[in-house]
């Protein structure tokens, strides 16, 4: 296994761990963090595998994609955090309301 693939598999690990937390944790802050960890995992897969170029610099295209992805992740996280604060303000609970209770 090359170093590039080792890093990429680590990225998959982060993705899986994040997905686990997203599903089983109820606290919304944990869910938002979980999505960020999943995102980091995907970014790691993208950049690590760019290092497979035979000799010469790594492929710059995935690097550019990851920069784009990071900005998107920052934007989404900011929106999620403010939404979380509003949910807490209106319901007093940092968790998703039960959809059937309405």
């Amino acid at each position: 296994m090359s170093v590039a693939v080792l890093y990429a598999v680590t990225g998959l690990g982060l993705f899986s761990l994040g997905l686990y937390a997203l599903i089983v944790r109820a606290h919304l802050l944990r869910k938002i963090l979980a999505l960020n960890i999943m995102g980091s995992g995907v970014f790691l897969v993208l950049t690590a595998l760019a290092r497979r170029a035979p000799d010469g610099p790594p492929d710059p295209v995935p690097h550019a994609m990851v920069i784009t992805g990071i900005v998107v992740a920052v934007a989404a996280t900011a929106l999620a955090l403010v939404l979380l604060r509003r949910v807490v303000e209106t319901t007093g609970q940092p968790r998703l309301p039960d959809p059937d209770s309405e």
């Binding site: 990429a8 690990g13 997905l19 686990y20 497979r52 170029a53 010469g56 900005v71």
Partner: protein, 224 residues
């Protein structure tokens, strides 16, 4: 009551499922060809006509510049969403201690200088609008944390103009080059480097201001 989360049996089955997913995907990655240059040769071949000397910047601002334009729009829309959700968190009246008051006076000018350097550096090495914007945003957050408040006259259309400056300039350039090159975002080569620097400068500024505005957690000066 604090949220507890899923029942043990559910956790166990989710964990089992995800271990399976991880193993399957890891096996898939191991099966990829160990050597692959991706698009690196194509990028290298066109570097001379990209207007910059750093491949990542060339991809971000030129070859895939359209993605970057939309991504700036994502950041702006997130800020609009935050503003629509709530007014800014009211600042506390606490006066910062002597250390905390002195800190930004030393650091912020350095950070602004750093942002300018990163922006300039992007043409030839790692750096560019996003890195510069991140440092600028951090400077703004530092100021806010140490008791600085956005002056009222900067809360209205001036702030909104700063927020859209990056996307606005990108859109302007994207459309303005159409008569010259016949295609959206097709920078004519002699001015490609200058146009990219112009876009990056305003993009860096807007990103910095947007990050700071996001940190406010809502629209400054708005009431509910």
């Amino acid at each position: 009551m604090t949220p507890r989360g899923a029942a043990p049996w559910l956790r166990f089955s989710v964990a089992l499922l995800l271990v399976g997913m991880f193993a399957a995907l890891a096996w898939v990655l191991l099966g990829l060809p160990p050597r692959s240059a991706g698009l690196q040769p194509q990028v290298a071949a066109q570097m001379a006509v990209s207007g910059v000397d750093h491949p990542v910047t060339a991809v971000l601002l030129n070859f895939r510049g359209y993605d970057t334009l939309l991504e700036m729009a994502v950041l702006l829309l997130a800020c609009l969403g935050v503003w629509s959700l709530s007014p800014a968190v009211p600042p506390t009246d606490e006066t910062p201690g002597a250390m905390l008051a002195a800190l930004p006076r030393q650091l912020v000018p350095l950070m602004v200088l750093m942002a300018g350097y990163l922006l300039w550096r992007g043409a030839t090495g790692p750096g560019g609008a996003f890195q510069a914007g991140a440092v600028l945003g951090a400077a703004g957050v530092l100021l806010l944390l140490t008791g600085w408040r956005l002056p009222v006259r900067w809360q209205g259309w001036r702030l909104r103009l700063l927020l859209i400056a990056g996307v606005g300039m990108f859109v302007l350039v994207a459309l303005a080059v159409v008569p010259a090159s016949g295609v959206l975002l097709g920078y004519p080569l002699p001015v490609a480097g200058t146009l990219i620097l112009l876009i990056e400068a305003l993009a860096g500024l807007s990103i910095g201001v947007t990050l700071m505005a996001l940190f406010l957690g809502g629209e400054p000066g708005a009431s509910r």
